[in-house]
Symmetry: C2
DNA sequence: ATTCATTATACGATATGCCGTATAAAACTA
DNA sequence: TAGTTTTATACGGCATATCGTATAATGAAT
């Protein structure tokens, strides 16, 4: 299953998923990244457009990486996501 | 080879690669996205942290998508050069 | 229900991105 | 070479993200 993200909301949801997988609270992640807990909260909610710098800091702290690629065609069924 | 991006510079380089593949100038892409040519220029150069919203608009215009995933260990050392 | 941890929201202040416009620099092409 | 397209950079002004700090809401567990 591949975590595709095309909107801030999807990106935030992915971040949250990975953060919890690592058993970190927003506060703990904030400490690692020198960001505020509030900033991480808004990113995960996808409420506002955040800054790319913020996303990158968080990805690094969670040992994640970004892959940019052409959009996968409609062959991807929703069922495959679960 | 997978287009992994962990820094603004790498992200910018990927965007540029895909834009050129579609034979679009920065000005043409700017028109599609309602951004300025200057904004696209700075994003591609990776000079400044841009806004996530800007990146997403451009990805959409280029029909690209983002995948977030755990870091692949293979390229770790190489990426540390940046 | 109460407590404790976690997450969401609020305030003014500061930093930074994007805007419009414009020009300069580079890269192609004839 | 000169001319054309493309990309990089500059300015003031506006919009917005993050800051620090703090509090309110939610969730989890006993």
């Amino acid at each position: 299953m591949e975590p595709i993200a095309r909107t801030p909301k999807q990106i935030g949801a992915e971040i949250r998923r990975y953060r919890r997988r690592k058993k970190l609270s927003q506060t703990e992640l904030a400490a690692k990244t020198k960001l505020r807990q509030a900033t991480i909260s808004t990113l995960e909610k996808g409420q506002t457009g955040t800054q790319l710098r913020t996303l990158i800091d968080i990805l690094a702290a969670l040992e994640l990486e970004l892959v940019i690629r052409p959009r996968s065609s409609a062959s991807k069924k929703i069922e495959d996501l679960f």
